[in-house]
Chain length 301, copies 4
């Protein structure tokens, strides 16, 4: 059985590591928060005093961190500290599941390549529910070899695994997808409210558009108008789901990427500004489909 | 068998009427263009000297005209001319399949109701190919009774028939859908180009987003990036399909509606401005997925 | 001295008529609200039982009404009612100061021309303060002759009088200006907040941009950020000034015009959607510079 | 008289350094391009073999470089190379006139402060014409002391000198201003074209808006519609002036800043996407007022 080091045991990382343990793998964990480590050791994980200690002898190293600067520092170290790339086995496959800027992934990838180590960026979608159920989506950037080897661990944690291209491509594909998602959500919201303002039943209108050329993921799975679908955040006061603050973060990454490649993203940048305003009005911790309320008259909320 | 009057025999109306003839119905046609009439009489239609003459004794009257002013005039007449509502049987069902402003449909509907005549707006989508194949989508606005009766003729011409609500609701639902479609098309185009600008293969990125939360009709059926899908306009130099000029028309209707109901449609209005600029640059008669080229560097076109 | 008929004595029309009286003109007034009429007769106006009665013998007829449909009906009448054009002297100059759609102005203008009567659209800006002070701006559409003759009354009520072109041009120029104003206001607001978010003093930043290439009317006269300027609505909890609801109305007219001429107005339509959302959140009766609050974090308001 | 080191002698830096020489200062120059150095030594400058050599004994060090990474490297050096901060006198004032990201300016500022050296960011506007004429605008970020001392050299090169705040504030204020400028330019362009599409003379409309609430710098100094003003790029086939590519660069900086501070900039980001599309269509080296052509029908260009 494979030995795995898992570094970063937050809301996502914790249940992902737990699924690897359940599958019988030897998992050594590390996190700066002792309680997060204890929760995993109670389920059978080993622990290490440092991230490098956890990673040193593992077949697979999986990391799940908040931002690019954390990933760079963990993998590359600094003048005083060794990085993961300084300690891991040349046979190991390193998989960063964080959602970060593509440039950071590419920088780490270059350093890994220079040392002959396989590194792959593999950001996930599917949320904490998907992490717990082992049904995450992984969008991978790295060599074919790394992608093939990584199946051993990714298939345990996820249901859909894509190979987007070379290192960094996983991050790019994810932010393209999430930028498009934000556009679908805003566009669907304003279309539904335009129908409502003109006397249409949003359920009837949703049913029509869902099977017409307006059809999209939000109408299918995640209708933003309250009481059109059951078991979605909009029918539960926009609780749960994917937080506005996280969408703002992802849209920030997409705009950084757009600026870096001199690309034009009029819809995506407009969605970002609308989500920032929405967050600033106090909605940061509500589900991202609550953007629908930006279009609703105050007395209808 | 039902008797049908069909008024307006253009690119859409002609093949729609032909399908009714093929189904064995007695169809009396009228159009201002003699050649259009002759094309249908050659297939077995009767003809009449005036629209009112065609409609006077029909069970169903179907109209397919360019704009709201034509529909108003045909149905309501003026000081010198009788309108359809002045001559049809009280038992007839009148179905306007034009894509027009909802207000015109509502005005005609009110006059019809005052005379005890069933009138329904039923704008279509599916293009000339759908008209010929009898696979159009009809989105209907009118009473349950009118909607039920109209099945006799609509099922001959279409594959999907929706009841959006009262008179005018068909127009509203269609412009909501087409506004959303334009947002999907622009948003998908900019997301694909952002990926391309960062080294991704548009086919791989499309495959990933199609089954992820970015999934939408354009990725499924009508990818705007050349050579990603076969048999779509983008792989045929944006020939055929749904013309930019027609999208501009529909987006104009959606903005009229948005202004009339004091609604907010940031994505839809941005799409309209982008399509207008695209048309003004000489692309009016190309397929609407050619908006993708707005995002492409000149040397890549 | 000139004789004037003044029809429509609301917040704007009342003080405008009063200034004509003060200038010694014989003013006959009409309004559907008796109290509005009485307020003017107390200042020396004559009154008439009908609008046509007031207008029949006047040298100048001035109208100030809410929307295009009111203007059309007043000037053109209907099957049962005479319109102003049916009763006025051929020597009279008719001046509509309402802010309405250009098409209505053009329709009235054509009917007037057919009867040999001079008609001019002359929408105003400057608000109730300008109406009281006689310092309004008039933007006129009509013949040179009408424009020259109208100086007699316009100079009494206003300080700046422009001739934009033929009939309807006054309305077009006004909605172009007000659309641009909305863009200046939103663009200035987001620029100031971007500076604030990055540690700049909004007063210092305003002073810099005002004399640089970002200089515009809002920085000069109407800074949207509280406490940067004195005696502007932003420093008085956004009371007074030009209401959000009125900006929404004007932006609706600009979008109707944009659709009718197939024009592209990406910034203007985005501003409209933002103002509609702002109004729907309960800000309709606050000053239009309150759009600044859309960009401000909730805890800073 | 002051001794000055001037590093970076491009289209802007060259004439700026020349003005210091003309004012009688002792100027030592450095540039990687020998011809650029020779052009200045021919005017009386001294030259040095390295940037550090030029700066070592100067009272003022002025730098004018393309991007943040160049500025960081020049001031901070790296493992193998000394930076300016390692060699200059503690009494010197260092002034970076480059337009770069604020973060780079702040990083350099912190290092300078740690060494007790006065550093100021002072990006300029006014173009090559202003550089030659000595009429540039400087927007400065740094301590009061640095700002006061810098007057000695800044007043020789510029006509307007602003103190925006602490280190980095000069860059922030400049990108706020230039973002707003892009919004003024696009908004004015679409407003003028809306008027033209509806029959107005753009010169008349410009004259009206310029003195009304739509008034802004572009109408005053830089009208984007051909043949409205003399001696502006729009009346010279959009030659000269401020290039589209440079506006794209500045708008990229503004979006980076907006993302970093989680700010909402709907108009600014829309302007950026429009300018990117415009550049991608082959207009990168034309004046930025050529965005007007995006709104013009193809047959009118």
């Amino acid at each position: 059985m494979a030995t795995v080091a898992f570094i970063g045991l937050g809301n996502m990382g914790g249940p992902m590591a737990a699924n690897l343990i359940k599958a019988g793998m030897t998992v050594t964990v590390f996190d700066l928060v002792p309680a997060a480590v204890e929760a995993l050791t109670a389920q059978g994980a080993l622990s290490a005093k440092t991230a490098c200690g956890a990673a040193a002898s593992a077949d697979f190293v999986i990391t799940m961190l908040p931002a690019g600067k954390h990933v760079r520092h963990l993998y590359l170290g600094d003048d005083d500290t060794k990085g993961l790339l300084d300690v891991v086995s040349k046979e190991a496959v390193l998989i960063d599941c964080s959602t970060i800027d593509a440039e950071s992934a590419q920088v780490v990838g270059k350093h890994a390549q220079a040392k002959g180590i396989e590194f792959m960026d593999a950001p996930v979608s599917g949320g904490t529910a998907g992490a717990a159920a082992g049904t995450l989506t992984f969008i991978c950037g790295g060599s074919d070899k790394a992608y093939q080897k990584a199946q051993t661990v990714l298939t345990v944690m996820g249901a859909n695994i894509f190979h987007a291209g070379a290192t960094g491509a996983g991050q790019i594909a994810k932010i393209c997808n999430n930028m498009l998602l934000s556009v679908l959500m805003v566009g669907t919201s304003e279309s539904l409210q335009l129908g409502i303002d003109n006397g249409l039943d949003p359920k009837v209108l949703s049913d029509i558009m869902k099977v017409s050329s307006g059809g999209n993921w939000t109408l299918e799975k995640y209708n933003p108008c309250p009481d059109v679908m059951e078991n979605v955040p909009s029918s539960n006061d926009y609780q749960g789901g994917f937080m506005v603050d996280l969408m703002v973060k992802d849209l920030g990454l997409s705009q950084q990427t757009s600026v870096a490649s001199n690309s034009s993203t009029p819809m995506g940048s407009l969605a970002r500004s609308m989500y920032v305003n929405h967050a600033r009005q106090g909605n940061g911790r509500r589900d991202f489909s609550s953007i629908f309320e930006q279009f609703t008259p105050a007395d209808k909320k």
